[in-house]
Symmetry: C2
Subunit: 202 residues, 2 copies
DNA sequence: CCCATTAAATGTCCATGGTCATATAATAGC
DNA sequence: GCTATTATATGACCATGGACATTTAATGGG
C-alpha cells in the first residue's frame, strides 16, 4: 500500500482534533464539512474516506473533547493535595479563561443543548462521556457513600456548566464576572456540602 | 387601509409566539423562515414585511419566551406563601415535565449556548432578559442584602438550567432522573444557603 | 362602488452544505 | 522502475435556506 501505514489514522486523528475545537467554538451545526477538512489541511472530497457521515465526525469530535476534560481533571487530582482538589477543578472550570475560550474548553456547556436535539445515537455517546466526567468528580468527594458523591458531583457539574453558559451569554463585562463569581461560590458549596454538614453535626 | 388596523400586529405576534416554541424545540438555527411562517399559517414570502431579518425574529421570539418565564415566576411568587416560593419555582423548573417539553420551557437551557455565539446585538438582548429573570428570583430570597440575593439567584439559576441541559442530554431514563434529583437538591440548597447559615450561627 | 393602500403570496436568486462518483497522486512491494 | 493499491483532490449534484422583487388580494375611505 502507498503512504505509510499510520498515515490515514494520523490524518483521521488530525481531522477529529481540529473539528472538536471548531465545533465547540461554532456549534454542532455552525461549520460545514468543507471548512472542517480545510482546518486539517485537506479538501472536502476526501471526507467520506474517513467518516460515514458528518454526524459520525461530530460524535468522535465530541468524545475527543470530553476525554481531554476527563484527563485534565484526573491530572489535577493526581497533582493536588486531597483537600484542594475540588476547589482547583472548580476554579479552573468556572474562570474567565474558560469562558473566553470555548474551543479548548468543556464540551458540555458548548454543545450540550444542541446534542440534546440530535439522534439517539449521538445522545447516547454524549451521555456516556458525561457520566464518566461525573464519576471523575465523584471520585474527588471523600467520606460519603458513592451514591451521595455521585449526586453531589452531578449538582456541582450542573452548576459549573450552567454558570459558564450564562456568563458566555453575558459576554465579558461586569454581569458576566458577577455570574462567574456566583457560580464558583455555588459550585464549591455544593461540592463540599456534606463535609460541612458533617462538621456541623459533629 | 385594507385589513383591520390590528391585523398586522396580530399576525406579527402570532409568528413570534409560534417561532418562540419551535426555536426552543429545534434550536436557534434548527428551523428556517419558510417553516416558521408555515407554523403561523402563512407562506414565506411575507416574512420581510414583518421582520428586518431572521435574526430580528430570533431576538423577538427569545424575548417573548423569557417574558413568559418571568411572568410565570412572578405568578408563583404571588400565589405561594413566602417560605415555599423558592422551592415551588425550583420544583417546577427542575422537573421531568420541563425537561421533556423544551418548546414551552425556559429559553436559557434551550438556547443559551447558541445565543452566546450570536452577534453582540442578539447577546445583549438575551443578557437583558436573563438579568430580569435573575432579579425575579433574587426578589424571593429574603433577609439578605440585595447583592447577596442576586448572587445566590445567579448560582441557583445556573444550577437549575445546567441540570436541565444535562438531563436532556441523558434522555429520559434513570441517569436523567438522577440528574434531575441532584439538581433539585443543589438548587434548593443554594437558594436557601444563607438562611441555613444564619440558623447555624444563631 | 371603486380605487388607493397595504398584507400576504408567488416565484426567483444565490450561497451554503452534505454527499458521492470519479480522477489523481503517492508509495510499497515485486 | 513498474504496478497494484489506497489516500486525497476535483468536481458535480441536489436540497435547504435566507433574502427580496414583484404580484395578488383584501378592505376601508371617498
Amino acid at each position: 500500500m502507498r503512504y505509510s501505514k499510520e498515515h490515514k489514522q494520523e490524518t483521521h486523528a488530525r481531522i477529529v482534533k481540529k473539528a472538536s475545537v471548531r465545533l465547540r467554538e461554532k456549534g454542532a451545526h455552525g461549520i460545514g464539512v468543507a471548512d472542517l477538512m480545510k482546518e486539517a489541511g485537506l479538501t472536502h472530497g476526501g471526507f467520506y474516506a474517513h467518516f460515514d457521515s458528518r454526524e459520525a465526525l461530530v460524535i468522535e469530535a465530541f468524545a475527543y473533547a470530553m476525554d481531554r476534560s476527563i484527563e485534565h481533571w484526573r491530572k489535577i487530582a493526581a497533582e493536588t493535595p486531597a483537600e484542594k482538589r475540588l476547589s482547583t477543578i472548580i476554579d479552573s472550570y468556572v474562570s474567565p479563561v474558560h469562558r473566553d475560550d470555548p474551543g479548548r474548553g468543556c464540551a458540555v456547556p458548548a454543545l450540550g443543548a444542541e446534542i440534546a436535539r440530535e439522534s439517539a445515537k449521538t445522545r447516547k455517546a454524549f451521555a456516556a462521556k458525561l457520566e464518566q466526567l461525573i464519576d471523575v468528580m465523584a471520585d474527588q468527594i471523600p467520606d460519603v457513600p458513592r451514591k451521595t458523591a455521585r449526586r453531589q458531583a452531578m449538582g456541582t457539574l450542573a452548576t459549573m456548566m450552567g454558570t459558564l453558559v450564562m456568563s458566555r451569554v453575558a459576554g465579558s463585562g461586569e454581569l458576566s464576572d458577577e455570574i462567574l463569581l456566583a457560580g464558583r461560590e455555588a459550585a464549591l458549596a455544593r461540592a463540599t456540602a456534606t463535609k460541612k454538614a458533617r462538621a456541623k453535626v459533629n
